[in-house]
Amino acid sequence: MVPIAYYLVLSALLFSIGAGAFLIKRNIITVFMSIELMLNAVNLSFVAFAYQWHAIRGQIFVFFVMVVAAAEAAVGLAIIIAVYRTRNTLNVDQIDLMKL
């Protein structure tokens, strides 16, 4: 049996990759995907913990996260389309009308 720590390390790794990509990547779609990656990393750790505790709550939580992620995708893509229509670019660096 695989110890729980392995799952947690994998989850933390995925989460870090997601967070890193969020900061580094310049294409909005990629940035958006990195958020999804972070959410899925969390799902992994939820499932692992649920398995460890033998409690169903964690798995239920994962379903909710998935549903919310889908809703977020819908809203997010709509906003991205709105931005693309007005600006004709998907590069975050060029979306800079407002600065300090």
């Binding site: 750790s45 709550r57 964690g58 939580f61 996260v65 809703a71 977020e72 809203v75 600006r87 407002m98």
Partner: protein
């Protein structure tokens, strides 16, 4: 899951249900009956339905208060007690004020959707403040956030609006992931998603690395929601780009709900791991972490606000600074300071909604929200100017306005603390010093309004009677709560006493 009573559930969630129903009715009517009416008629009809719905929801809350004050459903999944009632009513009031203040606006043709989104967000907030369970916290927080993202980008003609929505969405999505990551570790440590059980399981294990990660992640996630430094980057852009009423809603109602749940999670869920942020009695835990965030917010919010030219942006930075004051109350987390936090956040929300209301009026007439657009406003629109005077001075903490008492109570409660009295003095001194700085930029706006002459071609500003009434009403409440703080304070203290007893 035995013994789930759907009747009980429905009763507990009745106010939220009513609010959502009102939103759906507003949308349906707007798309059918009023399809060919003018925008003004559609907005009035929608607002009327929303007000009626909120009123009905408020009545449900008050009625449930009379029979059986404290109820919980499924171990704190859904709560109903005097405190949640108070906050829910305040949220409804703020939603109604937002809708009333947006009747004049012309930024959208999708009026039914606009009202539905505000009401959905309100329902999300009402769920958010009435739960002790991580699952419902997460879901309702997302319901709230998703509505707010759309509201921010609601002005389809404005480039700024879409950009603001994008930034808000990206940062909000990331913060949700951080929060969720923290939640997953809390669940892993305790095997439960209930805050009270989590606290029992984690008591005294501050140095556990998993718990430390959970604390940092949770604080980060909520830090984004309440726009505290260094997680504030989205907020000035979102406030500036969003249509003024939407910005008002983000700055007021969502602040109330976010701060309430932030305090709830910290005080209930991390009850045993607070540590101490006192100068001479430091101990690891979440309190020092929040204290650092509070200090950074106070300094950066106030200093950055000094340089702003756009009033909405200025209010955004001032919101960051105010988040710093409120975090101070969370750091000291006594019953008194939670009462102070609630008083502060409720009066702050009212004040901000009013200030954005005036900005909306100016923006509507002059097409901008730059400081120069406010020049000589007192000659062009005396009544809104007077209201703005009240709002900004209350934000600056000048008596006899609500903001002053909020600050006094907050500082004294924070100083009293639990362990060593005066141990948070360093943070209070910083907060008071920064409030002196804040007077400068509020006076900059007031100087434009009252001291400078209006531009030569300026006509008097036309404002609908309704907006004037709403603004004056808010200003009157702020003066009243400043002169007689006891009116609200007693409610808060009674509610807190009731749930603790």
């Amino acid at each position: 899951m035995t013994g789930t009573s759907y009747r009980e559930l429905l009763l507990l969630a009745l106010p939220q249900t009513v609010v959502v129903l009102a939103g759906l009715i507003a949308l349906a009517l707007d798309l059918s009956l009023f399809r060919n009416s003018t925008n003004r008629v559609r907005f009035s009809a929608g607002a009327a339905i929303a007000c009626a719905g909120s009123l009905a929801a408020g009545c449900c809350i008050l009625l449930s208060q009379t029979h059986g004050a404290i109820q919980t459903f499924q171990n704190g999944m859904l709560l109903s007690n005097p405190l949640t009632h108070l906050i829910q009513i305040a949220l409804l009031l703020l939603a109604v004020l937002t809708i009333l203040l947006s009747i004049d606006s012309t930024f959208t043709d999708h009026i039914g959707e606009y009202i539905l989104l505000i009401l959905l967000a309100t329902a999300g907030m009402m769920f958010l403040v009435s739960t002790e369970d991580l699952l419902l916290i997460f879901v309702s927080l997302e319901l709230l956030s998703l509505c707010l993202y759309v509201l921010t980008g609601f002005n389809k003609h404005s480039v700024h609006s879409a950009e603001a929505a994008l930034k808000y969405f990206l940062f909000g999505g990331m913060s949700a992931a951080f929060l969720l990551f923290g939640f997953s570790y809390l669940y892993g440590l305790s095997g439960s998603t209930n805050l009270v059980r989590i606290a029992a399981a984690t008591e005294g294990s501050v140095m556990d690395p998993l718990l430390m990660v959970a604390i940092v992640m949770t604080v980060t996630g909520f830090g984004f929601k309440v726009a505290a430094v260094p997680f504030h980057l989205w907020s000035p852009d979102a406030y500036e780009g969003a249509p003024a009423p939407a910005a008002a809603f983000i700055a007021s109602a969502s602040k109330v709900a976010s701060f309430f749940i932030f305090a709830q999670v910290m005080v209930l869920g991390f009850a045993g791991t607070a540590g101490n942020a006192g100068w001479n009695v430091r101990a690891p835990g979440w309190a020092p972490l929040v204290a650092v965030v509070a200090a950074l917010s106070l300094v950066l919010g106030n200093v950055a606000a000094l340089a702003q030219k756009s009033v909405k942006r200025l209010l955004a930075y001032s919101a960051i600074a105010h988040a710093g004051y409120m975090l101070l109350a969370i750091v000291s987390h006594t019953q008194q300071s939670i009462a102070a936090l609630l008083y502060y956040v409720l009066t702050y929300a009212l004040t901000t909604i009013g200030a954005f209301g005036v900005v909306a009026v100016v923006e509507h007439q002059t097409g901008g929200d730059k400081l120069s657009d406010f020049a000589g406003l007192s000659r062009r629109a005396p009544l809104p100017s007077m209201c703005m005077l009240v709002f900004l001075l209350s934000l600056a903490g000048i008596p006899p306005l609500a903001g002053f008492f909020g600050k006094f109570y907050l500082f004294s409660a924070a100083l009293a603390g639990t362990t060593a009295s005066l141990s948070l003095l360093w943070l209070v001194i910083l907060a008071v010093a920064m409030s002196a700085v804040s007077l400068y930029y509020y006076l900059q706006v007031l100087k434009r309004i009252y001291v400078e002459q209006p531009p030569a071609d300026a006509a008097p500003i036309q404002i609908s009677i309704l907006s004037q009434i709403v603004l004056c009403l808010i200003a009157a409440i702020i003066i009243l709560l400043g002169c007689a703080p006891n009116l609200l304070l007693r409610l808060i203290q009674n509610a807190l006493n009731a749930i603790i007893a």
